[in-house]
Symmetry: C2
Subunit: 217 residues, 2 copies
DNA sequence: ATAAAAAATTTTGTATACATAATAAAGAAA
DNA sequence: TTTCTTTATTATGTATACAAAATTTTTTAT
């Protein structure tokens, strides 16, 4: 009994899993039981395994041979390592995005950002993760550098998937996003680059803070 | 009829394919016929497909649905985009490597570098690709940042796999490598970072040169 | 002979089968 | 009971089976 059609099942499964990580449906350290997931996604284990392989390579999953695949959990030091990379890549992306700007997309992000700012804390927190992912992804896409886009998108996902509970003040983030978007809108590459640098730097420092606090306790 | 044992076949196949790209056995735009490759590697198509998925994600392969997988060929502009990224990441890696130095490994690289310098042009050229890959990989590994390591290693492979015939003067590269290694050996992080930056920058400029020349013709 | 259509072949994508390792459950000994 | 074996169950890794798409070859018509 064969399924009718399905445009690139591999890709679909892959994206579903990514979304499940972003949404928190799949949490760090969770074991991914193949048959169970396959049934949930209505596919066989074959495309699932291909997706696992991809996600393993981008460090969203870990594979323990003969034991299975697990959602990768990163500790604070690893998170810091990721921010060290993002700090160098995202400003580049923002710079390029300001040159290759797609106004419509940026306007949309602006509106989303404003809308989010109006929500009460609870709603804001529940929607922030996917919003933040979209924010960074859209800009990196706009950089027109597919290599950059793919890399950063993995790192964003790892970050967001592992950052439960210790998100920095989300409203500060929104404010910084606005500055970045405005710089891009005015084609001010340098300013966009700087603003993105600052934005990532603050997040990175927050992690360093956490590490210090933990070391003391 | 089942094969006896095989420690992580997935991984083996994946690494074989990477090696085949590095060595030039698999060239850009080549189609990867599944059954053919599977036989060559003595495995079934299942682990092969997982490896393909990984390599696709790291942009070493392209998949055209219902058509198959191809070795990705990158044009000069894409190559430039990759160097833009390497320019930001590899100096970071060199910096960290200088702190976490493993002397033995660096000594080994030193010796290899010297040995290569003594070869005549033909031999040098034929060995340079895998040497260069090892050089950059070893340093990134030493940075102790697995995210950085994985990413840069993909980019190096794409670069080397697509750079046939237009390698810059290889002896200049060797000289730069020596400077980098010496900086790492003396734990001079800043100098290692700078030297790596210069090294990648020269390569990047070489690509820009090529682009200009092509635009004129 | 050339072009178009039809048939045969190959190749891909996905599901399934099956051996072996890993885990859980049941039973025996202390 | 608690702990150690032994047995049963489940899950993973890999090979294989098979439908549908893509490609090649052959046939037919102009």
């Amino acid at each position: 009994m064969y399924k009718v059609i399905a445009e690139d099942l591999n890709q679909q499964v892959y994206e579903s899993l990514r979304y499940m990580i972003l949404s928190g449906e799949l949490v760090p350290d969770q074991k991914l039981v193949q048959e169970e997931l396959a049934q949930r996604l209505q596919v066989s284990r074959t495309p699932l395994l291909s997706a696992f392989a991809k996600l393993e390579r981008e460090m969203l999953l870990t594979s323990i041979p003969r034991r299975g695949y697990y959602v990768r959990s990163v500790n604070l030091n690893e998170l810091l390592q990721i921010y060290e990379i993002r700090l160098r890549l995202e400003p580049l992306g923002a710079y390029e995005a300001a040159s290759n700007i797609n106004e419509e997309e940026i306007e949309k992000l602006m509106i989303k950002t404003e809308a989010l700012g109006l929500l009460d804390d609870e709603k804001l927190n529940s929607q922030f993760r996917s919003y933040d992912y979209a924010f960074h992804s859209t800009i990196m896409q706009m950089s027109n550098n597919p290599f950059l886009e793919k890399m950063v998108s993995s790192f964003n996902l790892v970050t967001l998937g592992n950052l439960t509970g210790m998100l920095r003040n989300v409203r500060d983030s929104l404010a910084e996003h606005t500055v970045i978007l405005r710089s891009i809108l005015t084609h001010d590459s340098e300013k966009a680059e700087q603003a993105m640098f600052k934005h990532v730097e603050v997040a990175k420092k927050r992690i360093e803070q956490y590490i210090l606090e933990k070391d003391c306790s």
